[in-house]
């Protein structure tokens, strides 16, 4: 825990829950009658509500993006490196909104929430949510907060997909979309990894067809495996090599199958911790949302035609060692934007951390991000 809060921290923050009771129609055809969204905000909304920035989270993210919930917190929010006073998303200038998405498991309505119709958790009854659905719910949240137009919608990975979707679904409601370490669609390899993760979960005996809540148990083993395989795709060969190498936990081989290499025990530890804190049904839902995302699909696979609807400006960033969503995937997006005559800036950041690099403040990443957001702030008079 911090003895005192760092000067560039947003400090102690308190999440707030917003209840919506107008039914929301989802891409799958189902409706969600009422729902809650848990939200954190940092900084002050200015008089003309022009300085609002929306943060969209990735697969296992949530509303707690920056600051601390209490002085006892061991770690700050998941994107504290980029959000705070003087940081790229400068809370002295911007009003930052960060929410837990629909279907999540950190307070917003999701599979582990009670279904009002039955009084029991939704479980597998919870509808599959798409990136478009999230954007729709975020727009309703913006209405509630009095934000007509975002200065920027910002996200990494799955969050970047939401930023892109915003530009297509609500072109008049954002000035900038910042799409980091993302992709316009998953590749077969990406989907394959998601499928392994889902199989790990659904084949766990404790999964009970998604009704594990009723059995007072959790598919820990499955979720742990899902996280382990996912985690590998977030790192690079080089960063794993640097962190663990072939280091053993003890001095010699034991000629058995327990966790002997450091990397094995690290993955097990990460997986176990995750399996205690994350809902398995939410994990299934999030990976499916990733699989389905493909804005070009409705336009005959032509991404530039899909992007034609956008009117905002784009910043696209990729990382050299990201093999989950490679720089080539970002360049596909950029090229579609160029073809569609959109205003777009692009940089490939040289960083060794693989996909996770979007969470790590390497100097060039910070410079580029800060420079762009500084201009956004000036543009909206913040």
């Amino acid at each position: 825990m911090p003895d005192s809060l760092p000067a560039d921290s947003v400090g102690i923050v308190t999440p707030q829950s917003y209840h919506f009771d107008t039914p929301i129609e989802l891409a799958c055809g189902q409706k969600l009658g009422s729902y809650d969204l848990v939200v954190e905000t940092y900084g002050e909304l200015n008089a003309d509500a022009s300085n609002a920035v929306l943060i969209c989270h990735a697969l296992s993210g949530h509303h707690h993006a920056a600051g601390f919930h209490s002085m006892g917190d061991r770690k700050p929010g998941w994107w504290d490196s980029c959000i705070g006073p003087g940081k790229p998303i400068d809370t002295n200038r911007f009003f930052v909104v960060s929410l837990n998405n629909l279907g999540g498991c950190h307070g917003s309505t999701g599979p582990s929430s009670d279904n009002p119709a039955t009084g029991k958790p939704f479980g597998p009854e919870f509808p599959v949510i798409t990136v478009s659905d999230w954007v729709k719910s975020q727009a309703l949240l913006a209405d509630r907060l009095g934000i007509e137009c975002w200065a920027a919608v910002v996200g990494g990975s799955l969050g970047g997909m939401q930023a892109l979707q915003w530009s297509l679904d609500y072109p008049d409601r954002l000035r900038h979309a910042v799409v980091i370490a993302s992709t316009p669609r998953l590749t077969a390899q990406n989907i394959a990894f998601n499928e392994v993760a889902r199989q790990a979960i659904t084949s766990d005996r404790e999964f009970h067809g998604g009704r594990y809540y009723d059995f007072d148990t959790l598919p820990r083993r499955g979720l742990m495996l899902a996280r382990m395989v996912g985690h590998i795709t977030y790192l690079s060969d080089a960063s794993m090599g640097e962190k663990f190498g072939r280091e053993l936990r003890e001095e010699a081989y034991k000629f058995g199958y327990d966790a002997e290499f450091q990397v094995e025990s690290y993955l097990r530890y990460q997986g176990e911790r995750f399996s205690e804190s994350f809902d398995a049904n939410t994990y299934l839902l999030m990976t499916r949302a990733l699989d389905y995302f493909d804005p070009a699909y409705e336009h005959g696979g032509d991404l530039s035609r899909a992007i034609a609807a956008a009117t905002c400006e784009f910043l696209v960033l990729s990382f050299s060692t990201d093999w989950r969503f490679t720089p080539q995937r970002s360049e596909e997006m950029v090229n579609a934007m160029i073809s569609a005559r959109k205003k777009v800036s692009y940089a490939e950041i040289d960083a060794p951390w693989g996909h996770d690099a979007f969470l790590i403040p390497t100097p060039r990443y910070t410079d580029v991000f800060t420079a762009y957001m500084d201009r956004v702030a000036r543009e909206v008079g913040a």
């Binding site: 800036s345 940089a347 420079a371 762009y372």
Partner: protein
């Protein structure tokens, strides 16, 4: 404003869609956006320049002409493709010229003249590779790997069926001088060419 940019901006019409190859810190595009309501992109590889462009609101794409080419841009999508003081630094200037006129109806190119009298004099006198204000590097670390003279460039244009719409020859400070006009390949330091395909107007 830099005098060469002053000359170039006169050739950009309001609302033109422009591509600037090697856009540097975005000074020219920034000016064209504000004063000419031009739109478009800059291509750059220098990280500091890219950051500056982003900060001033110039759309900049990190892309290396030598290794990545320009395949990601569609035919005829720009009114003008610019390349200031970078032609001599690419691996295949001839191919870049082709690409410029594939993407744009018109190209604007500036480069230093290797036949300027001071460079000729320096080489003749000292027997060493010349250095100047426009070419301040050593032979082993210079980014300028494809130096040419105005005559060389014009010969290449003829060979490729590229029409030179206009040429301005200036000195090292990009000032017009009577001497450079009189005997450009000997007395001019930098040329600004406006080029197009033979069949274009």
């Amino acid at each position: 404003m830099r005098p060469d940019l002053e000359i170039i901006q006169q050739w950009i019409k309001p609302g033109h869609h422009v591509l600037d190859l090697g856009c540097g810190d975005g000074t020219l595009l920034d000016y064209l956006q504000r004063e000419r309501r031009a739109t478009g992109f800059g291509l750059e590889i220098n990280p500091d320049h890219i950051t500056t462009c982003m900060n001033r609101g110039v759309a900049v794409i990190e892309q290396n002409l030598d290794t990545q080419g320009l395949d990601n841009f569609d035919d005829g999508m720009f009114d003008v493709v610019l390349m200031t003081q970078a032609l001599q630094a690419v691996r295949r200037p001839d191919k870049v010229l082709d690409e410029m006129l594939r993407l744009g109806r018109e190209g604007i190119v500036t480069f230093p003249n290797f036949a300027h009298w001071r460079l000729r004099w320096g080489l003749a006198l000292s027997g060493r590779m010349p250095e100047s204000e426009a070419l301040p590097y050593k032979w082993y670390n210079t980014p300028n790997i494809r130096l040419c003279t105005f005559k060389d460039f014009e010969a290449l244009c003829r060979q490729k069926g590229i029409r030179i719409k206009s040429r301005r020859v200036v000195d090292g400070q990009h000032q017009n001088s009577w001497s450079a006009r009189l005997w450009p390949n000997l007395l001019g330091e930098i040329a600004i060419y406006r080029i197009t395909r033979e069949n274009e107007q």
